[in-house]
């Protein structure tokens, strides 16, 4: 009799967890987006930031040509990140025999998107007004806020990842000369580390 109720409790926990959270997030997608971010920031450094005076970084002179380059690099990085993340995550979803596009996925995406799109639009506006230096820390902060907001609907680790990104963003504002370095650290290195942690904690 006791055994039945222990199983009941486990069933209740499992269903509550599965019905509220998107659990198929793949750690490998964290690794792949991290690598894309590192590559993107390296290219951006080589083409745009290398010859700039770091001390006057927040008032950096950036011409229209550089802005186009920067946007192209950013767009390429984003596309590469999103497509590899979708690839690894949908592969894991199939392995776990879950639906990719269900109630939980939608809820996660909506809650991620609200801070993310706000931050993205704000960054674009700042970029076109010439505040290039501000954009890097700002994207870290908004990405972190998006993760914290979405973490209620997916793996618990995401919340801590979000908090780390927010802190890095704030530090990057303070030491704005090293914005790109912090950006590469947050979106690249930390993201890869968290990807590996998730991969280890949620093996099939």
């Amino acid at each position: 009799m006791k055994q039945k109720y222990i199983e009941d409790i486990n069933e209740i926990k499992d269903i509550m967890h599965r019905s509220t959270r998107f659990i198929s997030l793949s750690g490998l997608s964290g690794v792949s987006t991290g690598i894309a971010a590192l590559a993107g920031s390296y290219i951006a450094y080589q083409t745009i930031f290398k010859d700039q005076d770091y001390l006057t970084y927040n008032a950096v002179e950036i011409n229209n040509e550089s802005i186009v380059y920067l946007l192209l690099i950013a767009i390429a990085t984003i596309i590469l990140s999103i497509s590899t993340a979708i690839f690894f995550t949908s592969r894991k979803t199939k392995k776990q025999k879950q639906n990719v596009w269900d109630h939980q996925t939608k809820r996660l995406l909506i809650n991620l998107s609200i801070p993310l799109i706000t931050g993205g639009l704000l960054s674009l506006m700042l970029l076109f007004k010439g505040f290039v230096g501000l954009v890097l820390p700002l994207t870290l902060i908004f990405y972190g806020l998006a993760l914290v907001n979405g973490s209620k609907y997916t793996l618990n680790e995401i919340r801590n990842l979000g908090i780390i990104e927010i802190l890095l963003g704030l530090i990057a504002f303070q030491f704005i000369d090293f914005g790109l370095l912090f950006w590469a650290f947050g979106f690249g290195v930390i993201q890869i580390i968290y990807g590996l942690i998730i991969q280890r904690n949620h093996k099939l």
Binding site: Y5, I12, I15, M16, R18, S19, T20, D102, H103
Partner: protein, 96 residues
Amino acid sequence: MKQVLKDLDKAFENRIRLGIMSSLMVNDYLDFNTLKELLGVTDGNLASHLKSLEKSEYINYRKEFLGRKPNTNYSATTMGKKAFKKHINAIEQLLK
């Protein structure tokens, strides 16, 4: 001990009904197909267990149309939530 056994709710003895109730405790509402996928049961099986929970007034449903497709959303009633909590507490007592 006697009191504990009385608190155990017959409505939740069945695994599927327990599953329906667990998911409706943590979601404001879920539709039929989501419940079906979540619990991995057939249409007929799910429908009969939903009906029995409705009869005990533990859950409510609301029909709506998504375009032309009918869609039924289920949610737990206050009474159902109370009963579920009581049931869980009884299990906890039993496992102590």
